[in-house]
Amino acid sequence: MSFLGYRRPNDAVGVRNHIGIISTTVCATDLALWISQRVHGTAPFLHSQGCCQTKPDLETVTRTLISLGCNPNLAGVLVVGLGCESIVADEVANGIARSGKPVAKILAQKLGGIMGALAEGVRIAQDMVSKASQIKREEFPDSELVIGVKCGASDTTSGLVSNPVAGATFDLLLDQGGTCVFGETTEFMGAEHILARRAATPEIAQRIIKSVADIEQRVNAMGCDMRGGQPAGGNIRGGLSTIEEKSLGAIVKSGTRTINGFYEYGERVDGKGLFIVDSPGREPEILTALAAAGVQVILFSTGLGAPQGFPFVPIIKLTGNPNTYQGLSDYIDIFIDIENSTIVQAGQELYQEALRVASGKQTKAEIINYGCFPNILTVGPII
């Protein structure tokens, strides 16, 4: 099977053709948003990090911004900074430029303020969109597909229906030689031993175990029971009593195949196969991690109905909860009617939908442009 995508200069394949407007820091966020609002064909990446943070966090932000800019769904990137922030805009722009795509940079403090930078940013973005619009879709084998998965607003149907269906889709793509990425290491807790058994090497198994131990230690350092935060109140009302129960249902979304690698937050995955990116469960941070990893499409399994999209990665929402689909059909794409289907059949249908979305079909969150406020995970203090 195949899909229609955009070939990038480094031979990566994109499924969308946006110009990314990437803010380096919280102070440039409004400017990046305004440029994006003025120029059709752009997608902003806005966040509240990038200054007055400790060195490890600043490195994470820089790495993540570069990886996001390299995502093949972006035909080109305009990096938007203020000028005095901790993040070095040139470092971000140069890192993205190594992918071969066009990259430009503006700093408000060098362009006579916000209005001067807005005018210059709009002019550059307009030119980039004009050039990108001439790139045509080409046919690619599905082994070029890179899919991420996330589950959110989970209830019992997530673990029983939508997560296993997403997992079946992962297995299908991996058997075709494609690439799949998952994360949410907090939601490995209580199930990490099962994932570790699927690791290709003892080192990967150790990193899986260690990532969970690290997040558990950070949680315990707060001196409280994490229940209410994980599982969230809605999860508990949906029937999930403990993090162990939530995790055992959550890991099913990764399918059953061998895990070929483990990456830090904000890293791009390299090669084909099944990979983990270390990330928490909350949507704004995990969706960023998946986009930074280089996924073209995200499968989002939900029980109670999470709404998020992502600025330049289409997100397919699926649920096995009939009440959720009926009540929230403006942002849930697919209902899995498990009474009239099997997990494997539904996985095959979802795989076909992923190919259609990769080829240009718009998801519901894309159409209503919901999901403009993602974030980058940082762990240290704001200083």
């Binding site: 019992t156 149907t157 199930a191 949680v219 949906g238 009593s241 403990t242 162990e244 129960e245």
Partner: protein, 100 residues
């Protein structure tokens, strides 16, 4: 007919309700390698759990064939199982010497 409950693994000591169930409902299901009849002692909402066996306090509650937490009280066969009688053993910074 719509399946009312699911037991995910033969090791499990709880089942999950696929429809809302009421106290007094009698369910026949496969558990622990045999067919059992369980009478519910309380209402069990859609997506929630009930016990298939007696579970002693501090004993593991098992779903997916794996431990999902520990019983905090005596759980009798057919009891509704949720946060009132089941507690997580992970991410417990509130317990001195908690795991992790």
């Amino acid at each position: 007919m719509k399946q009312k409950v699911v037991v995910l693994n033969s090791r499990d000591n709880v089942a999950t309700a696929l429809v809302s169930l009421r106290a007094g409902d009698i369910l026949e299901l496969e558990a622990g390698g045999e067919t059992r009849t369980v009478k519910l002692t309380g209402d069990v909402p859609f997506g929630h759990k009930f016990s298939l066996f007696e579970i002693e306090p501090d004993s593991p509650v098992i779903k997916y064939g794996e431990v999902i937490g520990l019983a905090t009280a005596m759980i009798n066969t057919g009891d509704y199982v949720h946060i009132h009688n089941l507690v997580s053993a992970r991410g417990r910074g509130d317990l001195k010497g908690g795991k992790g």
